[in-house]
């Protein structure tokens, strides 16, 4: 009696698995695995010269195994469970981020790693998924509120707490991907576009002003022959001209509004006040950012505008990276024989600059293959979002897709000299076990959303 299992149940179980296999997004899985295998290859190439190739290869392979196990588990697990426990997931992520400030190990200036004896674990790679879960779960219920600015408070509070804790490590590069990820969820949830624009402007001002002022400080009196630029330089480096400058800008905005009114173009007063408020809060926020960023970080961020600013430091790295990629030409110099990499001209070749290594050793075709695979991952993520059966799945997939898109574009843009040097690694390819496991867990969630796109 006990051994008896009705035939139809067995069939149903089988069909479950069969349906899951049929509905599985094999192309996404293939792209992700291919990318990480390429990563293994190039990590070995980057380390062979120093004689540590095997060590790095072994560690990364181990991480890949763990990543694939994690991915499989999350794929089997119904993703809706995250929605149920979203609050707890968020709280645990906060505990992790706080704990690292106390018990973390400091490496290269930031306290971002837990020392677990045989490996280092970087929790930010996992907590960012927790943040995505929290925002997605909140937005699923409250997406109608996103037409009013009050509706933004909680998502921003969720994001801000993570951001603040990560900046305390301080780990600028990991914190940067959080903003676009959260904003993408809100955007996909139908948030009011003017409000989103206002937020982005504010953030832009807050981050932009310190950078401009650092730039002018570093340039010193190079511009003293240009009256306008030297005036601008003073406005950004000295205190009183700075205040005068921004009061001037505000007056200009008011003047513009007034003139438009004269010309019978009526813009409601509310917009004017909002614009002024955005400018002001952006300026005020810039003071905080100025204090939070370290000198070398500011230097790195602006070195891409003008490598001359720091010719032997940050600018040098970008130049060497571009030379590495460009010198690869069509077919590359061949595996393990890129002179830029193997002779140590290329900085951080295992981590941040691994794409330059691909470009140098495998040429245009190799680099294009990476770009295509990478793009496919992002494209699939967005597609999975539109196919998801519920809003939570949709938002989660958008967040994951945006994270991959942002990291990929910023990293590859950086090594090709299109973006500032931010230290964001390239998911799947860059060396780093926690990052690889985190990426595969994210892929697992995507697959889980995709398999369950129809009710099972």
């Amino acid at each position: 009696m006990t051994d008896y299992i009705p035939q139809y149940i067995q069939e149903k179980q089988n069909s479950h698995i069969r349906r899951a296999i049929m509905r599985m997004d094999w192309s996404l899985l293939t792209a992700a695995v291919l990318l990480s295998l390429m990563g293994l290859f190039f990590i070995y190439s980057a380390s062979a010269h120093s004689g540590q190739g095997h060590t790095y290869l072994f560690r990364q392979s181990l991480a890949l195994c763990f990543g694939i196990i994690g991915m499989t588990l999350l794929m089997i697990l119904p993703y809706q469970i995250f929605q149920t426990y979203a609050k707890w997931i968020y709280i645990i992520s906060l505990i992790l981020l706080v704990a690292i400030l106390f018990f973390g190990t400091r490496m290269r200036g930031s306290k971002s790693w837990f020392n677990l004896h045989w490996f280092y674990f970087q929790p930010v790679e996992i907590t960012r998924l927790a943040l995505a879960v929290a925002i997605a779960a909140y937005t699923e219920i409250n997406h109608k509120n996103l037409q009013r600015w009050q509706g933004f408070i909680i998502p921003f509070a969720l994001m801000g707490t993570h951001l603040g804790l990560i900046l305390m490590q301080p780990d600028l590069s990991s914190s940067m991907a959080l903003g676009p990820m959260g904003l993408a969820i809100l955007f996909a949830a139908g948030a009011s576009i003017p409000i989103l624009t206002a937020v982005i402007t504010m953030g832009g001002l807050a981050l932009g002003i310190p950078l401009i002022s650092t730039y002018f400080t570093l340039m010193g009196d190079k511009f003293q022959h240009h009256p306008f630029i030297s005036w601008l330089a003073r406005a950004f480096t000295q205190q009183i001209p700075f205040i005068q400058f921004w009061i001037g800008i505000c007056v200009l905005i008011i003047g513009l509004w007034w003139f438009l009114r004269k010309w019978r173009i009526h813009i409601p007063l509310v917009y004017l006040i909002c614009t002024l408020a955005i400018v002001c809060s952006g300026v005020v926020g810039s003071f905080g950012v100025k204090r939070a960023l370290k000198d070398y970080q500011k230097k790195r961020l602006i070195a891409f505008v003008d490598p001359e600013v720091d010719p032997l430091g940050a600018g040098y790295n970008i130049l060497q990276s571009q030379i590495a990629i460009g010198s690869g030409r069509f077919l590359g110099k061949g595996y393990m024989s890129g002179s830029q990499t193997q002779l140590g001209f290329l900085p951080e070749k295992r981590t941040d600059f691994i794409f330059s290594l691909v470009g140098e050793e495998k040429g245009f075709f190799g680099a294009l293959l990476v770009l295509a695979l990478y793009f496919w991952v992002v494209w699939r993520a967005y597609d999975i979002a539109t196919l998801a059966r519920d809003k939570f799945g949709r938002f989660l997939a958008v967040a994951i897709g945006t994270f991959f898109a942002f990291s990929g574009i910023v990293n590859i843009g950086m090594v090709m000299g299109m973006m500032p040097v931010t230290g964001i690694p390239l998911p799947f390819l860059s060396y780093g076990g926690s990052g690889l496991v985190g990426s595969f867990i994210a892929i697992g969630i995507l697959l889980s959303i995709h398999i369950r796109r129809y009710s099972l």
Partner: protein, 594 residues
């Protein structure tokens, strides 16, 4: 409900589509850039990569000069030759070969050469192999360049002292940055192989002195030979520091301290009008060019900066403080006590250094009579003395801008309460009033006290740096005298103190600094200490008649014995250097008086 859900999905889909399109555009632009770099500029960048055998040799910035108050240069830079190596495309066999050849030149540095060449191979960067090689060797290596591909001889600035170890405790020394410092200072632009100040002013003002290093970018061919200089970022020399030190005076006191019986001691000369340190020496001093390990085990502790780190009992020079406290408590200076050579309190006997017989206040100061001070202190009690000592800056750091200053120690009822058995006995007062017992001061504090007496009440913050200027003469920093405190005593008391201290010179224990053409005040001290022979102290101020005093000094000789005999001649030498007696007779010719 279903309809609204559908419309939500429709709008959301549109937005996700927008995100996807935006991402696609970004990826397209990445592909465009890739195409631009690899296909359009590929040939050019490939050539650049080939040329990337270019190597950057760091050009070390010359450190700023250190000058004395008359702008006489104490420290400048001399050229030195350093060996750099970069090993573009060299096989490990070639590297071994080069290492062997270099080891022939420098057999003693075998290990370092092999390690540095390994490092050069690992990083692919221009690496400093050996610094400061002899000129002749450098020339030979330059001639043999063809057999030593990748080896470069570079001329760099090296710190040179014009006067040997002069003022080494103040100036400090420089050395290559070590990994601990590098970790701490990486964000401030320091890098491996740079020089950094290790102690003294070289350390504290390193950010001014160091300047900015430049770089020389060479294009090299496949075998590592230089083809041409591509790019030169010139270095910026550091700012010059003008000290308040007078070089001649500094030499005099260092020589004199070295000639004392124990060779251990300190002397400080201050301008009482500003607090500027005219000379400050701690003996024995060390030669910065020496191997530090040699001095580390020297029992005389040359690295110990006695003038600010040494805590010593002040002995009778502390009677200046006791006198000031008594005078403030309206002490009648005509009051006399009989000194039988000893003082009995209960069953304890406190000695005086000789039998003074009947003494009034002036006589007691002049002849440093302990018994008079015992009687006086027992009448006014310890509290006014403690308070006065603190007013004169004892028990606190003088805030001179040098590392590891000691605050000394002034005991009092409160201190005894917390640190010992708790009770203050009359015997403590007796020890306290003559600067014995638990009282500890640094020579610097003693000098600042004399300066405060000389200028009638201003306790200055001592300073060593007059100004910092760029090589083009712009002033980056100008020191202004800073008052630490004002000692509030009425003018009559100051006058009485001056008269008493001048009495020490004209008829008392300080006759060694007697100068009829000057106003000189002094106090001697012979401090007993439990660890050995007595310490000798001598504090003096001097100035031209009818003018404020321009010189204050403290001389301390560790275990030197009698203050007037051991420390007095040094004080005299200082006074005579600052105020030359007449032009023909210099200090060197004068025979020391007995």
């Amino acid at each position: 409900m279903i309809e609204s859900r559908l419309s939500f999905n429709y709008e959301s889909d549109q937005r996700i589509k927008a995100l996807a399109i935006f991402t696609s555009l970004a990826f397209l632009s990445l592909i465009g850039r890739l195409f631009h770099l690899q296909i359009l500029r590929g040939t050019e960048l490939h050539r650049l990569a080939e040329q990337n055998r270019t190597q950057i040799i760091p050009l070390m910035a010359p450190r700023g000069y250190i000058k004395d108050r008359h702008n006489e240069i104490l420290l400048d830079n001399a050229p030195r030759f350093s060996l750099f190596y970069s090993n573009y495309l060299a096989s490990s066999h070639d590297n071994q070969n080069i290492a062997q050849q270099l080891i022939k030149f420098f057999p003693h540095a075998q290990k370092a050469i092999q390690q540095k060449i390994k490092e050069a191979r690992k990083t692919g960067k221009m690496t400093r192999i050996i610094t400061d090689i002899p000129r002749n060797t450098a020339m030979v290596i330059i001639e043999k360049r063809l057999t030593l591909p990748g080896v470069n001889v570079v001329v760099e600035p090296k710190r040179r002292s014009r006067y040997g170890a002069l003022a080494s405790h103040i100036i400090g020394y420089v050395n290559e940055i070590n990994p601990v410092e590098l970790n701490k200072l990486r964000d401030h632009g320091y890098s491996m192989g740079q020089l950094i100040g290790k102690t003294g002013i070289e350390q504290i003002q390193d950010k001014y002195l160091r300047g900015r290093d430049g770089g020389l970018q060479f294009e090299t061919d496949a075998s590592g030979h230089h083809v041409q200089v591509m790019h030169r970022i010139s270095s910026l020399s550091g700012a010059d520091i003008t000290l308040t030190i007078d070089r001649r005076l500094q030499q005099v006191i260092e020589k004199r301290l070295a000639k004392t019986t124990t060779k251990r001691g300190a002397a400080i000369v201050v301008d009482p009008r500003t607090g500027a340190i005219l000379a400050a020496a701690s003996s024995p001093h060390y030669d910065p060019t020496d191997d530090p390990a040699k001095n580390l085990h020297n029992p005389d502790l040359p690295f110990f900066t006695r003038m600010i780190q040494g805590n010593y009992p002040p002995g009778s020079i502390f009677k200046i403080v006791t006198s000031a406290a008594a005078l403030q408590a309206d002490w009648d200076t005509t009051k006399t006590f009989y000194c039988p050579g000893k003082f009995r309190l209960g069953n304890k006997e406190f000695a005086c250094w000789k039998t003074h017989r009947k003494q009034d206040f002036m006589g007691a100061v002049a002849w440093s009579c302990n018994v008079y001070f015992y009687n006086m202190a027992l009448q006014i009690g310890p509290d006014p003395i403690e308070q006065m000592a603190r007013q004169f800056g004892y028990g606190q750091k003088t805030d001179i801008n040098l590392p590891s200053e000691s605050p000394g120690l002034i005991p009092g009822r409160a201190w005894k309460q917390t640190n010992t058995d708790g009770l203050w006995y009359r015997g403590d007062t007796i020890n306290f009033c003559i600067g014995q017992g638990d009282v500890l001061v640094t020579p610097m504090q003693a000098a600042m006290m004399v300066a405060a007496v000389a200028n009638k009440g201003t306790l200055w913050k001592p300073y060593l740096i007059e100004r910092i200027t760029t090589t083009t003469g712009d002033i980056l920093y100008q020191e202004h005298p800073q008052e630490r405190a004002q000692i509030t005593l009425v003018p009559e008391i100051w006058q009485t103190l001056h008269t008493a201290m001048q009495g020490v010179v004209t008829e008392g224990t300080g006759q060694r600094v007697k100068r009829p053409d000057l106003i000189v005040g002094a106090k001697t001290g012979t401090a007993q200490n439990p660890h050995g022979d007595d310490h000798a102290w001598f504090v003096t101020y001097a100035g031209l008649p009818d003018e404020p005093a321009t010189l204050a000094l403290a001389v301390f000789v560790e275990n030197g014995g009698m203050g007037s005999r051991a420390a007095g001649p040094i004080a005299r030498a200082i006074v005579n250097t600052v105020f030359p007696k007449d032009k023909k007779r210099t200090i060197k010719k004068r025979s020391p008086q007995g």
